[in-house]
């Protein structure tokens, strides 16, 4: 009797936790945006009616997209080198990638404040080189946010892709070269297509991560480079405009969920092993 429900019994506490503390509150937040006293879509009309907020959404998408593309490129090439490195070196490289990943977002973003500041390392270096006399204003630009974001997410991309690349059997690479494929051709025609599902997973992780980030744009972009995360905080905790904040939250959920669902669908279609 008990046996038939044992699985349910053991999984229910965790299910309730997610249901009560995640699904209900988030659903309530989204639902609230449709219960506005001024009409069901008023908070969205506010959001899309404001050129400033539209610019924030657009900037966030832009930063997340550029970060994703750079992280894909850098991560894939590096992961390929890591996956082909001899055993001992490989573990060192993996540790070197894991370590920043385990260091907090605040700490890692903060490092770029020291590097990119007016009296920062990079400016001092450029002045020392004689490239410029005046320090460049590098902080609080879209570029500074992107650099720090790339820094934040490249390790994640490397680790994701090393796993995928190591899953490609050596046999396939040997088969390709026995059939006359040069190393470059093997990379293009065998390694890359087989890594595409992993690239998609990595892209989803990086895009959603950078699209919803708060600490990095707050530290390196400030008020001038407001993104969805910082806008949400500003609406909720500075302006106490909870309806406006809820609309931002709802838009963030819609964008992330559609990116995740869309990309997993594409990944499934592209995955040669699935059929």
């Amino acid at each position: 009797m008990l046996k038939r429900f044992a699985g349910w019994l053991m999984s229910t506490p965790a299910t309730l936790l997610v249901l009560l503390l995640l699904l209900v509150p988030v659903a309530a937040t989204i639902a609230a945006t449709f219960g506005d006293t001024r009409g069901p879509f008023a908070p969205y009309a506010d959001f899309f009616g404001s050129p400033f907020r539209r610019a924030v959404l657009w900037r966030t998408i832009e930063i997340a997209s550029i970060t994703t593309v750079i992280a894909l490129f850098v991560g894939f090439l590096t992961a390929f080198v890591v996956s082909r490195a001899p055993g001992r070196l490989k573990s060192i490289l993996i540790i070197a990638a894991v370590f920043p990943l385990l260091t907090g977002v605040v700490v890692r973003s903060f490092a770029w404040l020291i590097i990119l500041g007016k009296n920062g390392i990079l400016n001092n270096f450029l002045i020392w080189l004689g490239v410029t006399d005046e320090p460049f204003a590098m902080l609080y630009t879209e570029g500074s946010v992107i650099v720090a974001m790339v820094y934040l997410f490249v390790p994640l991309m490397i680790l994701t892709l090393v796993g995928v690349l190591e899953g490609i059997p050596d046999d396939l690479l040997q088969a390709a070269s026995s059939l006359g494929a040069t190393p470059a051709a093997t990379f293009r025609q065998v390694v890359f297509p087989l890594a595409v599902p992993g690239l998609i997973v990595g892209a989803v992780l990086v895009f959603t991560g950078s699209f919803t980030s708060y600490a990095t744009p707050q530290l390196l972009g400030g008020e001038r480079q407001m993104v969805m995360g910082t806008l949400l905080y500003q609406r909720a905790m500075v302006a106490f405009d909870w309806q406006g904040a809820s609309a931002v939250a709802a838009i963030m959920v819609v964008v992330t969920v559609s990116v995740v669902l869309g990309m997993t669908r594409i990944a499934r279609r592209l995955n040669p092993m699935s059929s």
Binding site: P169, D171, L179
Partner: protein, 353 residues
Amino acid sequence: MTQPLTIDRLSAHYGKVQVLEDFSLKIAAGELVSLLGASGCGKTTTLRLIAGFLEPTGGTIRLGEQDLTRLPAHRRNIGLVFQNYALFPHLTVAENVGFGLKQRGVALPEREARVTEMLGRVELTDLGDRLPAALSGGQRQRVALARALVIEPPLLMFDEPLSNLDAKLRVGMRAEIRQMQRANGTTSVFVTHDQEEAFSISDRVAIMQAGRIMQFDTPETLYSRPANAFVARFVGFENLIEMRVVARKGDLVEAEAAGGALLTLSQADFGAIPDAFVLGARPEGLVVAGPDAPGIPATLGLRSYLGRAYQYLCDSPAGPLTAQGPLGAAQEAGSAARLQPVAAQCCILAPEA
């Protein structure tokens, strides 16, 4: 087109471990040669050296007039069939088969024609659009074969290609591979640990152990005239009895085993018998007879039923032996008997150094 393969004094290391030392092997043009041995004997290493996936520390590999030793793998032009087929999972059957032609810059119309023709030869004409995941093991094996053959390589190599197939399919594929290879006359190297497979498919077989060739001969010679104890055991001579000649009478030789058992052997059966030798006997080469008959005295132990005969584990002054007796006369454990050699199931070896 078809070329002889000459391996001369090849050495290879994995780290500090020497896996091959002074390994030499000559394979004639059009011949199919198997490298046979247990795992770790160096057969796969040899194949990988020839393919160019490992670099030798010494020696040369030549195919016809061409020195392959330092040539990168992708320029060696060797057709390779992998143990687990190594089909590209993201390419269709036709694209897999056409992969090598594409690398060679063969134009699309010709490529398609050759792929279609090759798929016809391996009877996969209708499956060209499938992905490898949608194929059975036997079909994958055929695709792998087609992919290696379509580039018309002067040398074909097979790395335990049949070990992932079930027994029935294995025998069928064996015949297909042999027929294709004969039809093309391509020099071939076949790596396997399965003796029956190696013997049935090959012109000659190299039996390997610890990075050395123990004997390189036709299957018939290996089976009936092994050159040493290792090969003898490998081909089923389970009983190896050290003997010493005590008397010679024309073709007949009287020899004594440890413990004093006397046997009479004929040089007409075995060729010249040296003064000290080892008698190799398969289980069916030692027949159980009554305790008063001539032969090696033995006490019978565990009996097992083989269908065509009984097999006995025996104790003898010459050591533990395995012998067989007729079905009509089952013997109980503990009974005394004599074991008589049957010349056709025995061999004569030089004593071990």
